[in-house]
Symmetry: C2
Subunit: 356 residues, 2 copies
């Protein structure tokens, strides 16, 4: 099953013709999941090979404008393209507390009525995710409002034991969020496929007299079968070790993770997408603004033993061909003992191969 991510915007702070504001799409089984939605994301989607109508889930790392100002417009355009269908599953939107108010206000004041159902699930940040003076408590918003009821959705609190938020879980995968430190509360998301059953040991099965057919499928799905001899054959007897799923981590703006959640969840990530707003030579400035440099990103990747690091969210000062931009890769690779690091570009697609 193919799994790929496509960057739609790789610039920091605001969109330019060279680099859009933050947005990337993860595509799996024909579904598109959008991570962040800076201004212009819908136009970037039109320029890409992806179809906006395939978006079923949206994840917002934090509420800075360069990550959310494209969301009301994208939803309105999706609505124009959708055919009313009461049975359609809602588009699930996940993001920090305050996102629901932002979206609802934008849609209500612009007289936009979405023709498809959607939910907004809000992650409640902890106050230590940003400098104390920057923290705003949005929990009381919209209580005393004359506006009609907004969209449905859950309020998700940190699971203190896991130091993470459980967002999505089905038979195939799990999506969790973890905490980052930034100028405002920011989150990272990790999508992890569940392990698949290992290969059937066909030789052993033949030796036992089990011929290829429906019984193979039953074993693979985890059910025991009874042999002609009357003996019971359990799946574990003929299945190789489970094949691990793929793991993709997409981090929002940060000067680093907060708590143990990030480190644990990102262990052995197949792909780690991390911001590197400024070069290592400006590390103090970057940290002061709640941002990272290639060195910051690479040290996390090393701690997590991530298999692939992609840097993104570059300051717009690094115009195309800017000398320092080319140095960013080297700054990260030096920390990772030469392991290859990628610099994201708008419309770059990275395929994460299935494990065998």
């Amino acid at each position: 099953m193919s799994l790929e991510i496509t960057f739609l915007g790789t610039g920091a702070a605001y969109p330019t013709p060279a680099r859009g504001a933050s947005a990337l799409v993860l595509r799996r089984e024909g579904q598109c999941w959008l991570f962040d939605c800076g201004e212009g994301t819908q136009t970037q989607l039109m320029r890409s090979h992806l179809r906006a109508a395939r978006i079923t889930k949206i994840f917002i790392t934090h509420l800075h404008g360069d990550h959310i100002f494209g969301l009301p417009g994208l939803l309105c355009t999706l609505s124009l393209q959708s055919s009313p269908d009461a049975s359609k599953a809602p588009v699930d939107i996940y993001g920090p507390l305050g996102l629901r108010s932002f979206l609802w206000r934008s849609l209500e004041l612009s007289h936009s009525q979405l023709l498809f159902p959607y939910t907004v699930h809000e992650l409640v940040p902890t106050p230590d995710q940003c400098p104390a003076e920057e923290f705003k408590d949005f929990s009381g918003l919209d209580r005393a409002e004359a506006l009609p009821q907004g969209p449905p959705g859950r309020v998700l609190h940190l699971d203190p034991a896991e130091d993470s938020y459980l967002l999505v879980e089905d038979e195939q995968l799990v999506v969790r969020a973890f905490r980052l430190f930034h100028r405002v509360p920011s989150f990272g998301f990790v999508l992890e496929e569940k392990p698949r059953p290992g290969k059937l040991n066909v030789q052993k099965l033949k030796d036992l007299g089990v011929q290829p057919g429906p019984l193979y499928g039953r074993l693979k799905s985890g059910a025991a079968i009874v042999l002609e001899s009357g003996a019971t054959l359990r799946p574990a007897d003929v299945l190789e070790a489970p094949i691990p799923g793929r793991k993709i981590c997409v981090l929002g703006d940060c000067s680093g993770p907060l708590g143990a959640g990030a480190l644990r969840l990102c262990q052995q990530a197949d792909l780690l997408v991390h911001e590197a707003t400024l070069g290592d030579s400006q590390q103090d400035k970057a940290r002061e603004r709640g941002h990272s440099t290639p060195g910051t990103a690479a040290r996390l990747a090393r701690q997590c033993r991530a298999k692939r690091l992609v840097l993104t969210h570059f300051s717009q000062r690094y115009t195309a061909g800017h000398a320092e931009l080319q140095q960013l890769r080297g700054q990260a690779e030096a920390v990772l003992d030469g392991q290859e690091v990628m610099l994201a570009e708008d419309f770059m697609t990275i395929e994460i191969p299935v494990k065998k």
Copy 2:
């Protein structure tokens, strides 16, 4: 003094790579005034010859997303580019009631603090500017909010005698708004330069023995002078008729004007910018959605005896080279007895020559 308008977005409903969402800039004396600000306007500005930092006033015709979703992002980017300067005049923003709440919410929830002063002046629409079932009363918004105080600004009510709203008036020009009928309350704006004093009749002055010099300036500025003979020479004696100023009318989305204001204010406009979302063959559909066709626009232009009509806000169905798009011009010109009509394109600039 040069006066020109540049279209930054000429498409309806949402931005595409071919046509941005609604936005145009009027440039006069090095100042840029922005009319509407759909998503992506800041990127379109970067692509144009204009400088966003020159924007001193912003006018919003109505609150549909394709006219406002670029505004929070544009203001944030202007802020990043601005140097704190307490003496700087505020950026004045004019638009329908509700705009202040939209802007303030977007900025507050995205933790955006603008480093330059700005004001939001809200026009209170009349309920008959849209179908009764679409009208929303935003007058009670933000009264019971926990958020800190928003930006300053006036609340502007219709002047029933003039059927218009007075927005700006200085020595050189006046800007008024008038009412339009659309799916939601919509406005048109008319900028009119005040007449300049006529030319001095130099021959007559010489005959009277007045030589070129400071006295000419005094006469031109409207002051009387005393001749050597002791007689008083009044400006009217030696000035030709005042030279009329230029008049530019920018209308928001509409199926037509409401009340007498539009017709009176747009008389003899040098330039009338009018939407034509769909072609004449879809007039019923256009009107039902609160929109115009080239015929609608041209009939208003004829009634106003506008000197130049520019059509814009084309349905995104009319892709580049779309056969029907080319017909739109002809549909308007037929109403205007062949007078040339222009179809707006992104980045098209139109100069309005000074009158002599």
